[in-house]
């Protein structure tokens, strides 16, 4: 019994020792990688610039894509069909039509807006426009029609729904206002898809260039240290022990480049995009707040991409060196 306990204790101690030893070696490799990263500062700066540029393109593509998608979703949510009725159609008839529409499976919701409500809203929306205000005074009456605002659950169903309304209530309706938003959405969708495609291609090219340059930078740094590896081997260092510090070095390149790219995209969102902001679709402040509220996704993707590039480049570079 005592022997078994002693053996278990011995095995546990051995396991903990091995674990501690591995952790100690990993910590030392981390330290070595950091020292080398700092020592090769000029080489590091050059690599970081290229990496930042690549990550900036990738991050911006993602950021703009996400923002555009959000924009489209917002617009889509506001898409509706406005059915305007002839002035002679009374409220009872309109309510009958509304009930009928509510029974249609394509309809998600309807809202009846009478002439007085339409006028009230119109005046409120144009209270700063003197010409419209004057014109309304001149008319001295309500020129607007009663309407029903119809919403559907699915963007794709609007066309079918509009056709149904036009065909079934021809006598009662003045006109059906549908198509304006649809065109905007379709155009935006096309623009965004093209931009995303271009961004993806550009991003991929930049990532490939970044991997190549990081790989070459690390290889140059390794070339300068090739005699050191030989000495390390002679002293008894295993290949893994020699490999890990340069891999950490590559990860540092990726890490710091990612941080810089994340800040730069934030700056772009704050300053540079004022060109787009405030032009009707989206406010300038919304761009920055959108970036900040999605920072964990955009920053996360940039950070992971940066770390991946650093890891892959350094692993390939050092593996080639230690093959011989």
């Amino acid at each position: 019994m005592i022997k078994i306990t002693v053996n278990i204790q011995f095995s546990l101690d051995l396991f903990l020792n091995l674990k501690n030893m591995k952790f100690l070696k990993l910590a030392r490799a981390f330290n070595e990688g950091w020292t080398s990263f700092v020592r090769n500062s000029w080489l590091s700066v050059a690599t970081i610039i290229v990496l930042v540029l690549s990550l900036y393109v990738v991050g911006n593509t993602l950021f703009i894509g996400m923002m555009a998608r959000e924009l489209i979703e917002n617009i889509e949510e506001n898409v509706s069909i406005s059915v305007y009725f002839k002035p002679e159609i009374d409220e009872t008839k309109i309510k009958e039509i509304q009930n009928e529409l509510n029974k249609n499976h394509l309809v998600a919701s309807t809202k009846y807006v009478n002439r007085d409500q339409s006028l009230e809203k119109f005046i409120k929306d144009n209270e700063n426009d003197e010409i419209i205000t004057e014109a309304l005074k001149e008319i001295d009456g309500n020129p607007l029609f009663s309407s029903i605002v119809v919403r559907s659950n699915n963007q794709e169903q609007y066309s079918e729904l509009a056709g149904y309304i036009e065909n079934n209530f021809t006598e009662e309706i003045n006109n059906v206002n549908y198509g304006k938003n649809k065109d905007i959405i379709e155009k935006l969708d096309k623009i965004i898809s093209s931009a995303e495609r271009i961004g993806l291609i550009l991003g991929s090219i930049f990532i490939a260039i970044a991997i190549l340059i990081t790989f070459n930078t690390i290889r140059m740094s390794l070339f300068a240290r090739r005699d050191e590896f030989e000495v390390m081997r002679l002293v008894g260092a295993s290949n893994l022990y020699i490999k890990v510090p340069p891999i950490f070095e590559g990860i540092f390149y990726g890490f710091f480049s990612s941080l810089i790219a994340i800040v730069l995209i934030g700056i772009t969102a704050y300053g540079g995009m004022s060109l787009i902001g405030g032009k009707g679709l989206i406010a300038k402040e919304e761009i920055l707040s959108f970036y900040l509220s999605n920072l964990w996704i955009i920053g996360g993707v940039i950070l992971l991409t940066g770390l991946f590039i650093g890891l892959i480049s350094s692993t390939i570079a050092i593996s080639r060196y230690l093959k011989a």
Binding site: L24, R28, V231, M232, R233, L234, V235, G236
Partner: protein, 231 residues
């Protein structure tokens, strides 16, 4: 402690101009704790013989044993671990230029997973043995040839290897410094470490009165205890 045995060892290299035989028909036994001088002219095969011992090279024919292990049976990825049985010292010192004296010695301890407090205790002790306590924070470029060789020696023995393989350690040093190095080697040997010294320094070999293996054109031409340099 393991002995070193060469059985019918031959080492040749393939080159563009054909095959070149560096060593042939080597039969040799080195007992634990011995001090062996391997002498011969430049190109005689001294370095190849020492490299075969710590498996930097593998024999083309025959076998080299370290204890009961054949060097040719050791898997490639396990070679670094096998080499930890040996301390190695070279004519060109082979120090890591970006590391200080302390760090160069500490590196050998780090890679075998020694704890930081052990390293901090033992490196100053070994620096005291080689007389370089005051140089611990210097870089190799700031040291003389003799000092570099002492650092190299300190690094080689810090992990208490079974065998110390020393290849032309005095080739770049003046006679007085050379003697300092040799005295250190003798001291290390007295503590039980096998020392294999490849050299063509006649004065040293004749004065230390140890076993001398003479190589000429890749063959052992003499192997004598208390031998002299006779080329």
């Amino acid at each position: 402690m393991p002995s070193i045995v060469f059985k019918k060892v031959e080492k040749s290299y393939e080159g563009k101009l054909g095959s070149f035989t560096a060593l042939k028909d080597i039969n040799l036994v080195i007992q634990p704790g011995e001090f062996v001088c391997v002498v011969g002219r430049s190109g005689a095969g001294k370095t190849t013989l020492t490299r075969l011992i710590y498996a930097k090279e593998m024999p083309t024919e025959g076998v080299v044993y370290f204890g009961n292990r054949k060097t040719t049976d050791i898997k490639r990825k396990l070679l670094p671990f096998f080499r930890r049985n040996f301390g190695t010292v070279f004519q060109d010192f082979k120090l890591l230029p970006q590391k200080t004296v302390f760090e160069n010695i500490a590196y050998a301890m780090e890679l075998v997973g020694r704890k930081t407090e052990n390293i901090e205790n033992e490196v100053p002790k070994i620096l005291a043995v080689v007389g370089l306590e005051s140089k611990k924070d210097k870089y190799p470029r700031q040291l003389s040839g003799g000092e570099k060789q002492k650092v190299s020696l300190a690094r080689a023995i810090i992990n208490n290897p079974d065998v110390l393989v020393v290849d032309e350690p005095t080739g770049n040093l003046d006679p007085a410094t050379s003697w300092d190095i040799i005295k250190l080697l003798l001291k290390i040997n007295q503590l039980g470490t096998t020392v294999i010294l490849a050299t063509h320094d006649k004065a040293i070999v004749d004065n230390i009165d140890k076993r001398v293996i003479t190589i000429s054109q890749g063959k052992i031409v003499s192997d004598k205890n208390h031998g002299k340099y006779t080329i």
